[in-house]
């Protein structure tokens, strides 16, 4: 391991490793069958370097296991943001970063030749103009520098108005401290707090799912496609079988589950003329294709369908266009009124009716009632009846209950 480096050049491979470590947290060396032992050792050592305070080692019969012990109740920052801060660079990159930005702090515009000369005279460092120009152009693209033409000469300058404004306004620090842990693209908020030398010490997030930050670059590409109203080609790796497939769609919206943190792309599939959802953590690459003239039309169609979407499915298992589910629950009035509140708050537009004292009915019509079962089960202990036009859903509910009675030795 003499050539071991903490930093990496490419994110996708590491994304998979970190996700596996985070999600499973128990795989030993031998269980990473697809990878060479050397690769496994290096990835594991890197992970231990980046996330040292959160790495837990356990010793099992089949060897030592490492896992990530992350309790989101105790976090001020998402530890997995560290993974984004590991891009490798050259000696030139880091030297030019600090010296060019230092040189241009006063807002003066300088050409690549002038910058090269001043790097030598003021900092005693020698670079060729071409290298300096390339770095300046890269920084213009990244938004760190601006470019202005004067005749044939191209000048580079730095406008730090926004950075200085942010530094002066402490209220912004609080906003960033909150959003970096609570909103999408928290990593960007986090690097801003780094730049302002500020750490979150005021906010926590109750339902925080750290691992999904690893999908943020995929999300960025999908939003870019939506902004351009472009179709995309997706490479998708199945989470069960591990098979890789490609598919094309018009990306319309990102669906998010607040209960699991999972994010999905909802897109329109022109071939099958259907809406479909893809988990972001299964999407490996996004390639932008041609612009779609019908983006707005499909997006409106999606909005019209929204009241019938329970989760991410647009079709039930029995081929019906819409399925109706009716659940009757017992509520000990007035003490258990919170159950009625739950039905209204969590029922996604379903109708809640008091049908007699202590009995309420919840009714909704959606594309796929099968998706509702996890939520329905949270009312176990109060359900008087469950009826569904998709009989397989009804059967599954009662069959699962029977299995649970048996599993926990309830009744006779």
């Amino acid at each position: 391991m003499s050539n071991f480096q903490e930093l990496i050049g490419s994110f996708p491979k590491t994304r998979e490793y970190v996700r596996d470590f985070f999600v499973y947290g128990f795989k030993s060396r031998d269980e990473f069958k697809d990878k060479s032992p050397r690769t496994y050792d290096n990835e594991r050592r890197r992970l231990e370097c980046w996330l040292a305070p959160y790495v837990r080692k356990d010793y099992a019969a089949n060897g030592s296991n490492i896992s990530l012990a992350i309790d989101s109740n105790l976090l001020d920052v998402n530890p997995l943001f560290q993974v984004w801060k590991t891009k490798s660079f050259t000696d030139y990159d880091i030297t030019l970063h600090f010296l060019i930005l230092d040189l241009l702090q006063n807002g003066e515009a300088l050409t690549a030749d002038e910058i090269t000369c001043r790097l030598l005279s003021a900092y005693d460092t020698l670079f060729d103009t071409q290298t300096v120009r390339r770095k300046c152009n890269a920084y213009v693209k990244a938004g760190l520098l601006e470019k202005q033409k004067s005749g044939k000469a191209v000048g580079y300058f730095l406008d730090n108005t926004l950075a200085h404004w942010l530094k002066l306004h402490k209220d912004v620090y609080d906003a960033l401290a909150f959003y970096q842990i609570a909103e999408c693209f928290g990593i960007v908020g986090n690097v801003l707090t780094d730049q302002l030398d500020f750490c979150n010490g005021s906010f926590r997030v109750k339902h925080s799912f750290c691992v999904h930050t690893l999908e943020d670059e995929i999300l960025l590409d999908l939003l870019e496609a939506m902004n351009r109203k472009s179709s995309v080609q997706l490479t998708i790796k199945g989470t069960r079988g591990g098979n890789t497939v490609t598919t094309a769609c018009i990306p319309l919206q990102i669906f998010v589950s607040t209960r699991s943190g999972r994010r999905f792309l909802c897109g329109y599939m022109s071939g099958s003329r259907r809406f479909s959802c893809f988990r972001l953590d299964s999407i490996k690459t996004v390639t932008l294709l041609e612009k779609s003239d019908r983006f707005d039309e499909y997006r409106e169609q999606l909005d019209r369908n929204r009241s019938h979407i329970w989760g991410v499915s647009f079709q039930g298992s029995e081929g019906q266009h819409l399925e109706r589910l009716t659940m009757t629950v017992q509520v000990n009035e007035p003490y258990d009124h919170y159950i009625v509140e739950r039905l209204m708050r969590e029922g996604r537009g379903g109708i809640v009716t008091r049908i007699k004292p202590d009995v309420y009915q919840y009714e909704t019509t959606v594309f796929d009632c099968n998706e509702m079962l996890p939520w329905v089960r949270t009312f176990i202990g109060r359900i008087l009846s469950l009826e569904c036009t998709a009989k397989s859903v009804e059967r599954r509910f009662y069959q699962d209950l029977s299995i649970m009675y048996h599993m926990y030795e309830i009744g006779g």
């Binding site: 989101s72 891009k87 760190l144 909150f178 799912f209 691992v211 943020d216 939003l223």
Partner: protein
């Protein structure tokens, strides 16, 4: 725009701190700083580069190293960061932090910048429908008072309406403002008591607060909130057995990812998962476990298992007396 870029690299951040220190530093001092701020083995990469001059950013004077930077160095805001800030201006909660004039100033500086995302590009399909009133002026005032007091470890007098509808006054020190993505609500993690060693944790919904006033009294010493939370966890964690059918393992691992957990493989297809929780989380955790149906089996602790069985027994009794018995007949 790239997120995975060297300009956000941890080493750049460490170097900025080293280089912006105007005082000369010894190699040992630099080592110490790199160890504090870098990754576990960063020192092995950074220090040789600085010592050898491969990163030509320091001047050596005897045993001391001096930064070559001459300005009051400020890192400019990248296009990605600008775009992120612009997106925040569209968020309903931004008014909790920024005044209208600050929002307007930031907005005008970002006039030409497209937002990184727009609210309508996301759909939170299982978010609860009764989120907090972020536009309400009294809510905003309370939020800011709590935030200010939290930073100064100040006691606040909170006038609160309990879930049972009772109006109560009490003194607390705000410890954190906790946001729930699922509920779209803020809660206050508050410390109750006089002595830093004997503080108790209370959790209060901010939307239930009628009024909050900061007092002149402060808590003398910092309190280790995480230790208080850890101490509140049940001695025996929730113990689940998972059989890996219908992708149950991955689903459970992701679903319970927000809890501290420890998972072990028992045999080829069976796993045991320990989840650490406290009384305030218990009901929510119980209904989350129930939502998985027979895919998960609770084997401990005794109290959690008893609660689960009570619910199942009630359910079985309801089924027997309700008119829906045909369903039972159908499946039994």
């Amino acid at each position: 725009m790239e997120i995975f870029s060297e300009i956000y690299n941890c080493y750049y951040q460490v170097l900025r701190h080293l280089l912006c220190t105007k005082a000369p530093a010894t190699l040992e001092e630099m080592r110490s700083q790199v160890c504090q701020e870098g990754f576990l083995e960063s020192m092995l990469s950074i220090i040789p580069k600085l010592e050898s001059g491969s990163w030509n950013l320091l001047r050596k004077d005897g045993n001391l190293y001096l930064s070559k930077l001459t300005s009051d160095f400020t890192v400019p805001i990248s296009a990605l960061e600008r775009s992120y800030l612009k997106a925040l201006l569209n968020d309903a909660r931004i008014g909790l932090f920024l005044t209208p004039s600050q929002t307007a100033s930031l907005g005008s500086m970002l006039a030409e910048t497209p937002p990184l995302w727009k609210p309508e590009q996301f759909y939170y399909y299982d978010r609860f429908a009764d989120g907090d009133p972020y536009q309400d002026e009294n809510y905003r005032r309370i939020f800011r008072t709590l935030l200010g007091a939290q930073k100064n470890r100040q006691y606040v007098n909170i006038d609160y309406t309990s879930p049972q509808g009772k109006r109560v006054h009490h003194y607390y020190v705000p410890a954190r403002l906790e946001y729930s993505v699922k509920n779209d609500k803020f809660r206050l993690l508050a410390l109750e008591g006089r002595h830093p060693q004997k503080m108790k944790l209370a959790i209060l919904n901010i939307s239930r607060m009628q009024n909050v006033t900061a007092t002149d009294q402060t808590l003398d010493a910092a309190v280790d909130l995480n230790q208080i939370i850890r101490d509140s966890y049940e001695k025996e964690p929730l113990r689940l057995h998972i059989t890996n059918k219908r992708n149950a393992l991955e689903r459970a691992m992701l679903h319970f990812a927000n809890y501290e957990k420890n998972t072990k493989k028992v045999d080829e297809n069976n796993y045991e998962c320990l989840i650490y929780y406290n009384k305030t989380m218990e009901t929510e955790l119980l209904i989350e476990v129930l939502s998985f149906g027979p895919m998960l089996k609770v084997v401990g602790n005794d109290s959690f298992l008893a609660d689960l069985k009570t619910r199942l027994l009630k359910q079985q009794t309801l089924q027997m007396v309700s008119s829906s018995t045909p369903h039972i007949t159908e499946t039994s």
